[in-house]
Amino acid sequence: MRAHSSTLPAPTFDDPAFVTGVDLSTATVAIVTSAALHTPDDDAFSAGDTGYRTIPSDRRDLVLGHWSPNFDRSGLSLDLNVVYPIDRLTELADQGVIGAVAPRHFSFAGNQPDDVSTIRLDSGPAAAAEARHDGVDVVLLTPV
C-alpha cells in the first residue's frame, strides 16, 4: 500500500506559508485527522466524501468512517489515541506542555480524489476558519 501511495499524483504549493513564533506552552492545540472519524450522531462519511466533521473534545465514542479497506483498523479499536491522541493532548495540557486542548477537532476522509481540489480550496479552508474561530494556534495532523 505504501508503495502504491507513493506513486499517486501530488499537488504542489508555491510560496507556502510557514508560521513562526509559536509558544507551545500557551498554544491551543487541535487534531486534524484523515481517518474519517465521526461521532455516531453525526452524518456518516460517504465514499469520496470531500467534507469534514467536527469532533467535540470530550467525545470518545467515535466511529471509523473511512472507506479504504487497506489499512489496519484494529489499532483504533484497541486505543483511540493511536489515531486520535486526544487523551495525550489532555495530559500535555495538564502538564503545561501545551496551553490548552481545542474545544473541537476536525476529521476528513483520506481517500480523496487525486486533485484534492475541494479540500484545498473549499472544505479545508472552511475547517481552518472554524479552528481560527476556536482560537486554535497549532494543529496536529494524523493520517491513517
Binding site: 507556502p16 508560521v19 489515531v83 479540500i119
Partner: protein
Amino acid sequence: MSVLAHVFEAAGIATVTLSSIRAMAEKVAPPRALHCEFPLGRPLGKPNDPEFQHDVLARAFAMLGEPAGPILIDHPETIEDAESEVLSCALPPRFDPDLPPAVDEARGIRKAYDRVHAHRGATSVGRSVDADGVPDALGVLHRISEGAPWKDAGIPGGNTIAVCHDIRTYYEEAALELADTPDPGGRQIESWFFEQTEAGKTVLAARQAIADQGAPFPIWFYMTPGQR
C-alpha cells in the same frame, strides 16, 4: 494530510504532520512533518502505550521551534506490520449444521462483539448493516459464492464495500475479546479474519464470484484489502 497542513498554515495556524507515506511528504512538503514508519492506520505507533505516543508527539511538537521549513524528519523507530504472525483467537464450534458455516460462526461470536461494544462505547459496524444484520449479510455472500447472481442476491444496502466493511469490522472488534494477545500488531487481526474465519473465506469467495460474473472493478476489488 500534507495538503491540509498547507491549508491550515495559510490560515495562520502552525501545523505538525505525522507522515505515513514518506514519498508523499517529500512531494507535498508540508511545513513540518515527522515521518513515522509505523503500520498504516496507527500513526502514533503503539496502541495502549502512552509513553511511546508521548515520544511521537514530543518529536512532532519540537519542530515548532524551527525558524523555517519545510522540515521532514524521521522517527527513529520502525514498526513493521504483523500480518504474518498468527493470531491465537478462539472461534466457536459449529452450532447449527444447517446454516452456512460463516452464518453459524457470526452468530457464535456475537457475545464477544457485544462485550467489546459495551466496553468501548462505540462501534464502527453500521455502514450497511448493524450487528444483527451481519449473519444474514454473510448468508447473502455465501449464496453469491455458490453462484447466485450478485445483482439479484439482495446485498444489504446494495453496496458490496459497505457490507464487507461491516462484516470485517464486526469480526475485528469481536477479536479484541477473543484473542489471547492483548495488543495484536498491525494487520494481525486482518490476517486472522481473512485466513482463519469462515466469514473471511466467504468474503473472499464472494469477491471472486462477483469478479467472475463481470462486475465493474470497484464493485468487487474494494471488498477486501488490495493484496487479498
